[in-house]
């Protein structure tokens, strides 16, 4: 069969294949180079995987669809810098699968919300935003305080993330590599074999939802929100440093 205009037009299967090829070229040219251009991810200290509790909080963030109204990417513009702080780095979401950048901002960007407000504020605000911000249009999430946190599958969740490149450890060797890279305290938390215990310990370490006697979904979500954008100490870098990666 000759590959003429007519033969493509009357042959749906062939047309689908050729359309896919044509569209893929655009995608491949844009996406593939990011994997081998050496400047894509900035070399920066402090970025680490999420702890088991933060990771469960992140799962709840995604489950509740927070990303439909909140982005986690501060763009390099003056107004965003003045409102939210330093623009987000690619390195800061290198352990995010999937990343939560987004572009839909019905609510504010959350890229640097970590430690901006108190734990108590987050708990009140998630429970009923209008308790603290009368003009808010965010929905209530009262079940976060009611629901016990289910972390029975946390080890499996970490294993899944390990497959896509997050350096959680299972073997002694991987653990030691984490000690080297992140220090003992963090490496302990990234150990899949101790995930349950790490999660409980972190939940007890701070008054996340105002009640230490229970481990709720609120505990996990607040722990996650409080770490957002706090891993990199920007005072250590000259402002021109990050521009060198572009």
């Amino acid at each position: 069969m000759k590959l003429s205009h007519e033969s493509i037009e009357i042959n749906a299967g062939l047309m689908i294949v050729l359309t896919l090829i044509a569209i893929s070229i655009g995608g491949l040219v844009e996406i593939v180079p990011l994997y081998y251009i050496k400047d894509t991810i900035e070399k920066v200290e402090g970025v680490r995987p999420y702890t088991p509790l933060e990771q469960r909080g992140r799962d709840i963030y995604i489950r509740e669809g927070c990303y439909t109204c909140h982005s986690q990417m501060i763009r390099p513009f003056r107004d965003e810098d003045m409102r939210y702080g330093h623009y987000s780095l690619a390195a800061e979401s290198k352990y995010d699968h999937p990343f939560q950048w987004g572009s839909k901002r019905t609510g504010p960007d959350l890229g640097r919300v970590g430690r901006k407000y108190s734990n108590a504020w987050h708990t009140q605000h998630l429970n009923n935003p209008r308790d603290v911000v009368p003009e808010s249009i965010m929905p209530n999430y009262p079940w976060l305080l009611r629901n016990e946190l289910d972390f029975s599958d946390i080890a499996d969740r970490m294993r899944a993330l390990k497959i896509v490149g997050v350096p959680y450890s299972e073997s002694e060797e991987e653990y030691l590599a984490n000690v080297e890279q992140f220090g003992v305290e963090m490496a302990e938390q990234f150990d899949i074999n101790k995930a349950d215990q790490s999660l409980i310990t972190q939940a007890q370490s701070e008054d996340w939802d105002g009640d230490r006697s229970r481990l709720t979904e609120m505990d996990a979500l607040v722990a996650y929100l409080q770490v957002l954008g706090t891993m990199v100490d920007f005072s250590k870098y000259d402002e021109g440093y990050f521009a060198e990666f572009r």
């Binding site: 180079p33 050496k38 308790d131 000259d238 021109g240 990050f242």
Partner: protein
């Protein structure tokens, strides 16, 4: 079935379906075609000017440049948004206009700012935006929080941690941790009720005099030890963030919102029984010194 188009014979694609269903092969409208060529030319100029094509582990940088100060020297590099931001934050026209005021405010004392109409107008307008971005989530737009019982109202002249400029500045810089122990299991219901009566009597509420007397002993003695932080007069130590119990302003117990004497007593009892744990985050690091100065002047002006 072939129709005439603008009076001329038109070609068809030559394909026929269902025997007689054919498709015109009209030339594209000229305006559309030239617009298309224009986008092609635009793309080529774009490739030359901006970073565009990936090559091995790098990419074409384009001939556009951006220049900014970094580490004390001038850097000129290929065009990129991060460099553009640095340049704008250093030399943008809006930045420079703002910079002139910011430098003036940074060098001035709080008194000078308050007495200079231009500086104080700038402080009010810029701090209002900073306040909305950073402080209003708790303290409310304009400094009035959503409810009594959560975060201090900044529009009155009652200050838990002190209302002097230096105290306000320290509060913003380092944050505050407010703590009152929970007395629920320590004192038990009866004594807490007595204490609540005494506490309400301090601000002139009608209370049960016998219970209030018993409450006074707990408050001023070692059993409750309330006077350590709230002081024997009940006015409170600013160094502990202890509330003044003698005025009509309530920051934790919603006494003004209570409907009757009984509800007022209950509101105070709940605070004594459960204690208070409140935290204001530290802003040093997130905000720079001049921004904190602007906010300090603004918050101070709200309260006076």
């Amino acid at each position: 079935m072939v129709e005439q188009n603008r009076g001329k014979a038109v070609q068809t694609t030559g394909h026929a379906w269902d025997g007689d269903l054919q498709e015109f092969n009209n030339p594209l409208p000229r305006w559309w075609l030239w617009s298309f060529y224009a986008t092609v030319i635009f793309a080529i100029i774009y490739w030359v000017w901006y970073p565009a094509w990936p090559i091995a582990s790098s990419f074409t940088k384009g001939i556009g440049t951006v220049t900014y100060q970094s580490g004390g020297k001038e850097v000129t590099t290929h065009w990129n948004t991060r460099g553009e931001l640095i340049e704008e934050m250093q030399r943008g026209s809006e930045t420079l206009k703002q910079q002139a005021y910011l430098e003036k405010v940074a060098a001035a004392s709080y008194d000078e700012i308050a007495n200079d109409p231009e500086m104080s107008a700038f402080t009010q307008s810029m701090a209002k935006v900073l306040f909305a971005d950073n402080c209003a989530a708790c303290h409310g737009i304009g400094g009035t929080p959503a409810k009594i019982g959560q975060y201090p109202n900044l529009r009155d002249d009652a200050w838990l941690w002190g209302g002097e400029i230096v105290q306000i500045q320290h509060t913003i810089e380092a944050g505050r941790t407010g703590f009152m122990p929970a007395f629920g299991s320590v004192l038990g219901e009866d004594k807490i009720e007595q204490l609540a009566n005494y506490v309400l009597s301090l601000s002139g509420h009608e209370v049960d005099a016998t219970k209030a007397d018993a409450g006074r002993a707990i408050f001023q003695g070692t059993e409750g030890g309330c006077h350590y932080c709230h002081t024997p007069s009940g006015k409170g130590l600013a160094s502990q963030g202890a509330a003044n119990l003698t005025d009509a302003i309530w920051t934790v117990a919603d006494v003004p919102g209570a409907s009757d004497d009984k509800a007022r007593i209950q509101a105070v009892e709940a605070v004594i029984a459960n204690g208070v744990q409140r935290q204001m985050p530290a802003w040093q690091g997130r905000l720079n010194d001049t921004e904190i100065k602007l906010l300090t002047a603004y918050v101070h002006s709200l309260g006076s």
